[in-house]
């Protein structure tokens, strides 16, 4: 069938093994990225530095401030004397939230009027301000219920909504981040490596010598990318193992299915790298083109930002990225233990990407120098 595939594969493998630095980067970078992102990225914001302006200085006011602190969302860093000092602290960035308990708080409370507590939030960072707002709202509700319950003489709550977060009961960020990282790391390295590998042969003049031989385009291209399938599988195994043992990310589903899908995604990514290599002339261009492709993958695929929150156009755009479908399958298998029955559509789409991109690349590739 393809008699020259094997020599090509062997050659590429020897070169890959000999380039220790690149190999080290390919293995080291995923590990470092996982450890960094895994520890650093927490979507739930806690311990927001907070300043307090307690105008009344009574047991009641101290009680409500303590209630805020007990949520764990607010870390009281300082008490201030007046409104200007509070605003200044937030403006300087010393604090991201400020709690104001007015002078008449205890009096209103005692007389049965609506007592107010003000929470000022620095909303220039939407993620942490949302957490602060939610926590502040919850403090208010709990206090209200306690006060109303006491007034009505009831000790049992009339209604309780029981929430059960399935597939990630602890609402832990790593469970969400680690599968995403597998996809993002594979996308970056696989696309970049193949795009560079072919262009490098062109730049160094080795392609010229190679294309005066009877080697066929398919043999050349497939032989060239095949060794990197192995690299991709090693990368993903490393990330998943670290995810499992360092971050406790579960592996609920079928491991065989998981590797099958990863294989498909690796081939699709490599195929995209091949395609990039047929569009550019130099390694530098290859690098730029790859990064141009990687960024939308990170932003639109649902790796970190929920796709449901995006305008429709961008949701569609996201569907054009292999990573979007891969993440869905990956999270399904890892966290929910989903099987082929529920994921066959995404699997087919990934296979489609691989076939179309390889065909396109082989068609575009010319065994000539112009």
């Amino acid at each position: 069938m393809m008699p020259r595939f094997l020599p090509m594969f062997r050659k590429e493998f020897i070169q890959m093994r000999r380039d220790r630095l690149t190999l080290g980067i390919m293995i080291g970078v995923p590990v470092i990225q996982l450890l960094m992102f895994g520890f650093a990225i927490q979507t739930e914001v806690r311990h927001i530095p907070t300043v307090v302006l307690d105008e009344s200085r009574t047991p009641a006011s101290r009680e409500i401030v303590a209630a805020f602190e007990n949520t764990g969302s607010f870390d009281i860093v300082r008490h201030v004397d007046g409104r200007p000092a509070l605003d200044a602290a937030i403006a300087r960035g010393d604090a991201q939230a400020g709690i104001v308990v007015p002078n008449d708080y205890p009096r209103d409370l005692a007389r049965g009027r609506t007592a107010t507590v003000q929470v000022v939030v620095d909303a220039s960072d939407p993620l942490s301000s949302q957490s602060a707002l939610a926590a502040a709202g919850a403090v208010g509700q709990v206090r209200n219920l306690q006060i109303l319950g006491a007034a009505a003489g009831r000790t049992v709550l009339p209604l309780e909504v029981r929430v059960r977060p399935r597939y990630n009961p602890g609402l832990r960020s790593p469970n969400y981040i680690v599968p995403g990282l597998v996809g993002v790391i594979l996308t970056i390295t696989m696309v970049l490596i193949t795009a560079m590998a072919i262009v490098r042969e062109r730049e160094r003049g080795t392609l010229e010598q190679l294309i005066v031989t009877p080697i066929r385009k398919t043999e050349l291209m497939l032989g060239k990318i095949a060794p990197y399938v192995g690299v991709g599988l090693v990368q993903m195994s490393l990330v998943l193992l670290l995810g499992r043992f360092v971050f406790d990310v579960p592996l609920t589903g079928n491991v065989l299915l998981l590797y099958g899908v990863v294989l498909l995604f690796i081939v699709a990514s490599l195929a995209f790298g091949l395609f990039v290599s047929t569009l550019v002339r130099t390694q530098q261009q290859a690098m730029q083109a790859s990064f141009f492709f990687v960024l939308p993958n990170i932003l639109l695929s649902g790796f970190m930002f929920p796709r449901a929150a995006m305008p429709l156009v961008f949701q569609w755009l996201g569907l054009a990225l292999p990573l979007t479908h891969f993440l869905k399958v990956l999270r399904g298998i890892l966290l929910k233990g989903t099987g082929v029955a529920a994921l066959w559509q995404e699997i087919l789409i990934l296979a489609g990407f691989a076939v179309v991109l390889i065909t396109l690349s082989v068609r575009r590739f010319r065994k000539t120098l112009d």
């Binding site: 020259r4 020599p7 070169q15 190679l210 005066v212």
Partner: protein, 247 residues
């Protein structure tokens, strides 16, 4: 079928508005050592690249080993060997690995592969550098290795683009002995060069200037045609050419 190993009619190649090779007619006999001479930019490399199927001709026809270059570029590649100006092998592979790779790419198998590899390695004396990375070879040894890789499939026609540029005199002489040995064995060799002593070792020469042929014949004939006088040397001819081009 003709008896010629390389035959071109009106071979032309344009790059945009620049015509790199214009109306080239060549006929090279089997077993001939044919030199292509001319200043830089005269179209030598473009000609060789067209004959190897690396560039498509803009007009005209070319047959190499009886096969049409434009219509069957892939079949040609089984019959030719090519050595580019720049070292085109893998510097991060050893001599042995480069040879082994090209043996595989040329489809050599089993006993025949072993035998042919031994033959080429012995012929070029490459066994002395076997385990060395290609990057660490001297210019002369790099050329030898490249020639070895281009010879593995016993090509009928060998194209050598400035094979001795940057090679020391002793290595150059050895290289030319090898070229003549190959020609005696029936291989047709088309070689470009800047060295006049090398041009004189060719059976026949073609001088190119500005993309077209200006003289053709044995070294003595070409010297007289271009140099103007009967006693002119190839060197004189070459300088006349160069000055004419610069004007």
């Amino acid at each position: 079928m003709t008896d010629f190993a390389v035959e071109t009619h009106g071979l032309t190649r344009r790059f945009g508005t620049l015509t790199a090779v214009r109306d080239l007619d060549l006929a090279i006999a089997t077993g001939e050592v044919f030199g292509l001479l001319g200043p830089n930019g005269s179209g030598k490399t473009t000609t060789i690249r067209m004959l190897c199927g690396l560039l498509e001709p803009s007009a005209g026809t070319a047959r190499v080993a009886g096969i049409d270059v434009a219509t069957e570029p892939d079949r040609i590649k089984e019959r030719i060997g090519y050595m580019s100006q720049k070292f085109g092998l893998y510097e991060d592979l050893t001599v042995a690995e480069n040879l082994d790779f090209y043996a595989g790419i040329y489809g050599l198998k089993n006993a025949a592969r072993r035998a042919r590899l031994d033959e080429v390695i012995g012929f070029l004396g490459l066994d002395r550098r076997f385990g060395q990375l290609a990057a660490t070879l001297s210019g002369g040894w790099k050329r030898r290795l490249a020639l070895g890789c281009a010879l593995l499939h016993r090509p009928a026609v060998l194209f050598l683009d400035e094979p001795t540029a940057g090679v020391d005199p002793a290595a150059r002489r050895a290289f030319w002995r090898t070229i003549h040995e190959l020609a005696r064995g029936g291989t047709t060799v088309l070689v470009t060069t800047h060295y006049m002593d090398e041009a004189e070792r060719c059976d026949r020469l073609a001088m190119m200037s500005g993309g077209h042929l200006i003289a053709l014949g044995t070294p003595v004939e070409v010297a007289a045609q271009v140099g103007g006088t009967a006693g002119a040397t190839l060197e004189d001819a070459f300088i006349v050419l160069q000055e004419r081009d610069e004007r």
